[in-house]
Assembly symmetry: C2
Homo-oligomer: 275 residues x 2
Amino acid sequence: MNNKIKKKLVKNWFKDLQDLICYQIEEIENYSTSFKNKIWNRDKLKDQGGGEYRILENGKVFDKVGVNFSEVYGKFSKEFRDQVPGAKKNPNFWASGISVVMHMKNPNVPAMHFNTRFISTSQSWFGGGIDVTPCLVDNKLKFWFHSELKKCCDRHNKKYYKKYKKWCDNYFYLPHRNEPRGIGGIFFDYKKDSWEKDFAFVRDVGLTFKNIFYSIIMKKNKIKWSKSDKEIQYLKRGRYVEFNLLYDRGTKFGLKTGGNSDAILMSLPPSAKWK
Amino acid sequence: MNNKIKKKLVKNWFKDLQDLICYQIEEIENYSTSFKNKIWNRDKLKDQGGGEYRILENGKVFDKVGVNFSEVYGKFSKEFRDQVPGAKKNPNFWASGISVVMHMKNPNVPAMHFNTRFISTSQSWFGGGIDVTPCLVDNKLKFWFHSELKKCCDRHNKKYYKKYKKWCDNYFYLPHRNEPRGIGGIFFDYKKDSWEKDFAFVRDVGLTFKNIFYSIIMKKNKIKWSKSDKEIQYLKRGRYVEFNLLYDRGTKFGLKTGGNSDAILMSLPPSAKWK
């Protein structure tokens, strides 16, 4: 299959998934509120792609959820050429992705994050992952969440889960705090085993995320919470902010490639506290 | 004067200034609340210095204020040796400093920041600055603040104010937002014109900060504020967090040299919001 068709298929899937996820969220909110969307372009004069971010705030279930689609292209700056595989040879790039961050009203429901992307330079690869960040301990939920991810991974390759779980644990870690961000999940990057198989896996990860967040919300959103639970959530969100601004590669990549800062920083919680 | 005596004099000044500033703040709070302090060491086994940070929260005037003193020494990691003047030749370093960040209850009073430091490798130099971040516009205050800084600078060298104001404007800037952090101030680094004169300037900057924050609070803290003013303050604090975690060199330096993360991140506001 030629590269142009691959890009089109991937982009269309990410767009469709954005719709699917947004519909699911509005259903969970019982259609009492809806997403606001914003379309943005990387450059005002030259066509260098852009994206659409959708945001829902102050829902009954979600404090803030952002669902971001982007398709960007152009030339990498000199600074980036050494850092991105295949960009040294040729600075042209194309990248498309979807990312979702959910900050929940009920502190019993973890913050949830999902992202998949396809990047094309003189090489091309997929990346992505799912991870959740509870602020209150629930080992049963942790076990269930990881078993769902393992099932998804096992459908494609029996080696994926172990490898991608470890990658996730290493990535979502705050060294200055000696703390993991949450309870992990799966994380993968530079994935270029076979385009067809990789794309099938990426689609499955997206649908698995949709099922996981729905199930977690159904399980946990009924549980009552106190003011002190909410305070714990605000402090945990402070850690989330620290991770995203100090370490997150997607944030750095986006800000340095002239991405839309509102879309990139949409992942930040509506409010956070520090002691 | 030998280097050992210089270090001792500088360190003692920073410690005394920490006391002076903390007394001033407790006086402003009418002694109804007081600082909590924590002494920390860089390493548990080897003596590599440490510091003392003091924090006052939930006051009548201050939402959160941190006053941090540190004296650290050791060897720079390989990563840092290329970045710090004089560290390539010899990785040993000694550094001492004081930093203050004030997040105010009344949104009419700007957030205020001050820092001075002395760093010694095979070279040695001073750095520091004062800057303020209002969330509500007050051009009269801005004019007064800058004229006070100019007076302080002019006492030492007529060229300082213009140079250090520009440096401050360039440094406290959020490129991804196309926004300055606040209304500027003065910022200087790698200052090694004459140790005696530089140290006199650094002491004056410290005392000027003490006068400035006292005067600003006396001027502005009486003004009534609304809930929507407070919301503007929370959003402005979000920008403050973005700057500190994405760009602030002191934060990066501290976290990468194994500084105490609570002391370093003490600069973060008690609470922040993002839209």
